[in-house]
């Protein structure tokens, strides 16, 4: 135990003297959060739209107005027929086309189901998903209004048998993607910082030769392991708290659920990242190698495939299946669940269980490999 304390003391003494380290640990997370929070705020506005209106009734004009007034769309042009749409979308001028069929207004009141057509340029995934979400929201609100109006007109009559389903956008009603991003950023930062710090701090000692000096002392492998992981658990958790505070103070996004649960599950997640960090350190001889391995073979795939950049539902089936193997996926769901929905272990137990299993497995395998390398 004393040996571990000596190791921790040494680690923090070095840490204190390394200005670049402080920058990495304190400034980098804040800057990332702020940049991603503002710039990569995937809140889409003024999506260029082409409208083909075969109906020309008051109702269809109402609907188009709603698109414009929402602020999410701007009408690029009105086309005469749907055959013109292709060229707009192909050229990338318009991201969305709305086609209103003939007799739209009449059909609405005749209780037929009018078919609105929305064509979305799928090449820009982000705009597309948000665009579709906005459109469904606008359309559903519109149809709801009509029904309410009709109830007003003839209070006795039954509402139409066919109810246009209301699409509600849960948890993030104004679709502000910042809300969606910030829990992701917490997870990503935690991962990047702990994997890097753990692997680099070990490989750095290998590179400058102090590692050898450690190995000839009677330090036991488990003590060295503790000395090389505990500091980064502490730093990682401090960073989580830092990022949560900035998210709240700057963006006004509070943690809806239990903060304690969030911190606890973060520690569980750290088993995975520390394990991966140790693993990287056992296969790298220089800091550059370690950095490259960590970034390209561990972190980028995790970030891309765990639903941080692309929603998992939009990924090809093969990659969706792979994402089940990535603990970051579970951690993202947990973070978003606790952060945005305010749900607890009753709803998240399966994700938490998987996260724990992966964490324990990855950490113990890496720890064994690390021990063998020293012994």
């Amino acid at each position: 135990m004393k040996t571990i304390l000596h190791l921790l003391k040494k680690e923090f003494a070095q840490f204190k003297r390394d200005r670049s380290m402080i920058a990495i640990v304190v400034l980098a997370p804040m800057i990332q959060l702020i940049i991603l929070g503002y710039a990569a705020n995937m809140d889409v506005r003024n999506i260029p739209m082409v409208v083909v209106n075969y109906d020309h009734s008051q109702h269809s004009r109402d609907l188009v107005d709603r698109f414009v007034n929402s602020g999410y769309y701007s009408i690029l042009s009105y086309a005469e027929s749907s055959s013109e749409i292709d060229s707009y979308i192909d050229r990338g001028d318009a991201a969305v086309a709305l086609i209103i069929p003939k007799n739209f207004g009449n059909d609405l009141y005749a209780e037929k189901r009018p078919q609105l057509q929305l064509i979305v340029d799928g090449t820009e995934t982000n705009t597309a998903t948000t665009g579709m979400n906005y459109a469904s929201m606008i359309i559903s609100r519109y149809s709801q209004n009509i029904m309410v109006n009709r109830l007003d007109v003839s209070p006795g009559s039954q509402p139409a048998a066919r109810v246009i389903p209301e699409i509600r956008i849960w948890y993030n009603p104004d679709l502000a993607s910042r809300n969606f991003m910030i829990p992701g950023i917490v997870g990503m930062l935690l991962m990047v910082i702990t994997i890097n710090l753990t692997s680099l701090s070990i490989v750095k000692e290998k590179e400058i030769g102090t590692y050898e000096q450690l190995v000839v002392t009677p330090i036991k492998p488990y003590q060295l392991l503790a000395g090389k992981t505990i500091p980064f658990i502490m730093i990682g958790m401090a960073d989580v708290i830092l990022v949560l505070s900035v998210a709240f103070l700057l963006f006004g996004i509070p943690v809806k659920g239990s903060l304690v649960l969030l911190l606890f599950l973060s520690v569980i997640f750290l088993l995975t990242t520390l394990g991966l960090g140790l693993f990287v350190s056992t296969i790298s001889r220089t800091q550059q190698q370690a950095m490259m391995t960590a970034v390209f073979f561990v972190m980028l795939p995790m970030i891309f495939l765990s639903g941080f950049v692309f929603p998992i539902e939009n990924m090809p089936g093969f990659f969706q299946n792979i994402s089940y193997l990535l603990p970051l996926r579970y951690f993202f769901e947990i973070l978003r669940g606790i952060f945005l929905k305010g749900i607890g272990l009753t709803d998240l137990w399966d994700q938490a269980l998987l996260l724990t299993l992966f964490g324990v497995a990855i950490f113990s395998m890496s720890a064994l490999r690390f021990r063998k390398k020293i012994g």
């Binding site: 000596h6 003391k9 030769g209 002392t217 009677p218």
Partner: protein
């Protein structure tokens, strides 16, 4: 009893044999010098003895413990100073001492005593708060020695401790080694400097992974060079060397600075013949003198053989 026994120790890196079937003993309390050119395998032997590297085959004991089965016990009884400086440069002198003393499990009082001793020994009393990285090489090496000795090891391994150190600091470092040996510590030291080798009780010469000779400096000089050695002071060193090497009565010849060392069967006849043959080529001979061969002569004699 021997402090170290090595039997048929071998280490391969892939197809390359860095240490080839090496055997030797180190007596308790002696200064044991391990000599060899770059890449001879010195560091590899030390690393195997300290448990930093596994052996491919063979066996060795350090302080009575087997390197293959009792590496943990060995770690407690040895001190190790690696060839590459390996203390924390971003820690201060006293932080380094505290850390290494701490991980060797010294209790507080012992630790303070030993640190005071080490600081005094290394002459770092007013540098305790200095960052280790800012010290001159000679000071760093003394600090590294201090760190390696905090836990009072029975055997210390010093891998080229004076590489890149100025002559005054080198001499000072060797004084520390003598003091250690007087206290009964076994010192296993590698070096490139042949004057340092003269300070050792026993020398082992390793060449391309194999032991080529061993013994006290005196033994090496008398056993391996049996012919008289003449030191020739003349003009045109290189030309003279070429001429002498073509004579069948010259056993060995080599350049030593501005002089030639030449081995011949008989001192007087040899001396005469050298003068003759060199004057034939218009080379002026200033003087010829019989000398006691130095370790360097032995070294060249042993490793120059095809």
């Amino acid at each position: 009893m021997n402090a170290i026994t090595v039997k048929n120790l071998t280490r391969k890196f892939g197809d390359f044999t860095a240490v080839d079937n090496v055997s030797f003993d180190v007596k308790r309390g002696e200064i044991f010098g391990f000599l060899g050119a770059n890449g001879a395998g010195k560091t590899t032997v030390i690393k195997m003895l300290c448990g930093l590297l596994t052996s491919t085959s063979g066996n060795a004991t350090v302080a009575g413990y087997d390197i293959n089965t009792q590496p943990e016990s060995i770690k407690r009884t040895i001190g190790y100073m690696s060839q590459k400086f390996s203390l924390y440069e971003d820690l201060t002198v006293s932080e380094n001492l505290n850390f290494f003393g701490g991980v060797y499990g010294l209790n507080e009082r012992d630790l303070n005593d030993r640190i005071a001793w080490a600081v005094e020994m290394a002459g770092l009393t007013d540098k305790k708060g200095a960052l280790t990285g800012s010290l001159p090489v000679g000071w760093k090496q003394r600090l590294a020695l201090g760190c390696a000795l905090l836990h009072r090891p029975q055997v210390v391994f010093l891998d080229e401790p004076t590489g890149g150190v100025d002559p005054v600091s080198r001499r000072r470092f060797w004084d520390l080694i003598f003091t250690l040996a007087e206290e009964g510590v076994t010192v296993f030291v590698t070096t490139h400097y042949l004057d340092e080798a003269e300070y050792c009780n026993t020398i082992m010469l390793i060449h391309a992974g194999k032991i080529v000779a061993g013994g006290s400096p005196r033994q090496l000089k008398t056993e391996h060079i049996r012919y008289p050695m003449l030191e020739v002071n003349c003009t045109g060193i290189i030309e003279s060397l070429n001429i002498l090497q073509q004579q069948d009565w010259v056993i060995e010849s080599s350049v030593f600075g501005t002089l030639l060392h030449v081995s011949v069967e008989n001192e007087e006849a040899g001396s005469r013949k050298i003068k003759e043959v060199l004057s034939e080529h218009n080379i002026t001979v200033h003087g010829i003198e019989r000398i006691v061969p130095s370790l360097e002569d032995v070294f060249i004699h042993l490793t120059d053989k095809p």
